[in-house]
Symmetry: C2
Subunit: 253 residues, 2 copies
DNA sequence: GTGTTTATCGTCAGGCAGACGACTATGATC
DNA sequence: GATCATAGTCGTCTGCCTGACGATAAACAC
């Protein structure tokens, strides 16, 4: 590493951007905010903001997450908090031209959250909403009446795409899919998470055998529920296991 | 994202650090450089440097890789170049205290290279060398006569550890292990790569069946070699497949 | 009660991995 | 040149896991 001659390095702005995913109505959705100022004024974008001087990157991401959703992020290692979401670093985007005004390096983070009430529009965004990732990726989240179809701001389509791909692959070999579920959930609800994230249909019987047979994945709470209709289903909580071995298999691929 | 009021965001220095891995003498080794200036003067560190004003992050990483090793990085998508190495972004480290002098955010990259001649000490490093990752992680690469045992500089032990873990897991489900091999290699050489990276012994017969039976993983070149002693072995090149399905299975875990 | 929906248990066949035997082809050693 | 050591390659067998189902159970809507 070079010596820190102050004239030797250019100054960068560093931001965090968030890919916040959830499953609503059988669809994988992401949190999008509408930009209030140029550039890309009026366009949908991922939530994010500047990292503060004395703030760690993960702390900045957690702060933005709270500001936008009220969700409290928790480390994978620390005990799960109520209303908590999974948060992890995704990747860093630093193309010199990604922001037309100046050199900005954005450290994108991925958050997985259970289905939530409508988001609160936070900070500088005119509004915020959940939108299906397909819609966000193909035409920037068009969906409101009279709204112009336009891609996401900056390189946020790329970031979102990378985040979705990370989520899709990570639920294969980890228990992360439970992060999309409420604290107690049924096997069927977990299966619908997999189906929404992967966009495939899974056999309920084989899925049931697989998840209940994987040690540490699910622990029964004793209760049952009938909120999905049909025969009452057992309720489970996420077990201690974080890595699934052998993994869940995604059809096709 | 906030408006770009120039007083609203603090300036950061952005660097790239490299975890360059190779397999030498049946051991997974990483490239380490000795720091020439404080802080951590005289200690071993990962190669790296500042990102230039108009330089993409991946371009900065590729530039540092050439400066340190002479290796030419290639995209996973683009055709393989002679003497090329695999290069990918690893993670970004931005703890406010990770550098005692100022706020530095480092975008770490992971490079996988075939066994190379001795590295050239580049730029500001007094010297550079390959060292087994175990040694680097436990006592900072102590190994030369009379050298003091000391951890790697900055948070480079953490970065190296993350890079090694990435490599260990990625050769499970991708054909990346071939990046550690010369352009033509035998099944046995590829197996020794897996054994070195994972630190386990693999059954030669089952390994042979697995890799030759995975479509697109290996393509025979027709030639044979006897450089390892014993019966001559068929030579292969890396096939077009990048994802192994089903993956290689790491024993134990 | 009948039909619908969802949950859960079972069965069966095919595929793949681990364990390991057997044979082949080279160089090294006596 | 016979023997040995080393490494490569092909087969066999067994057990586990998965995918494709059938069948039963327990709720709700009419």
């Amino acid at each position: 590493m070079s010596p820190y001659d102050p004239s030797a390095f250019p100054p960068f702005a560093v931001t965090v951007d968030l890919v916040v995913l959830t499953v609503r109505r059988h669809a994988l959705c992401a949190l999008a905010v509408r930009r209030g100022e140029p550039p890309f004024q009026g366009r949908w974008a991922l939530p994010g903001g500047f990292v503060k001087v004395d703030e760690d990157l993960s702390a900045a991401a957690a702060r933005e997450l709270v500001e936008e959703t009220g969700l409290c992020a928790h480390d994978p290692d620390s005990p799960v908090q109520a209303n908590g979401a999974h948060l992890e670093q995704l990747a860093t985007y630093g193309d010199p031209k990604r922001d037309p005004r100046m050199r900005v390096v954005s450290v994108a983070h991925l958050a997985l959250a259970p289905d939530l009430p409508a988001p609160r529009a936070g900070g500088d965004a005119n509004s915020a909403r959940w939108a299906p990732v397909d819609a966000l990726l193909t035409h920037g989240g068009y969906g409101r009446e009279g709204e112009q179809a336009a891609p996401l701001a900056f390189d946020h389509a790329q970031i979102l795409s990378d985040g979705v791909e990370r989520a899709r692959s990570k639920i294969e070999y980890s228990s992360l899919a439970t992060a999309f579920c409420p604290p107690e959930f049924t096997v069927g609800e977990l299966r619908r998470v997999y189906e929404a994230v992967w966009g495939v249909a899974l056999d309920p019987r084989n899925f049931h055998r697989k998840v209940t047979g994987t040690p540490g994945f699910l622990v029964p709470t004793g209760g049952t529920t009938t909120r999905q209709g049909g025969r009452p289903a057992q309720l489970f909580r996420a077990g201690g296991a974080t890595l699934l071995n052998p993994p869940m298999l995604r059809p096709d691929v």
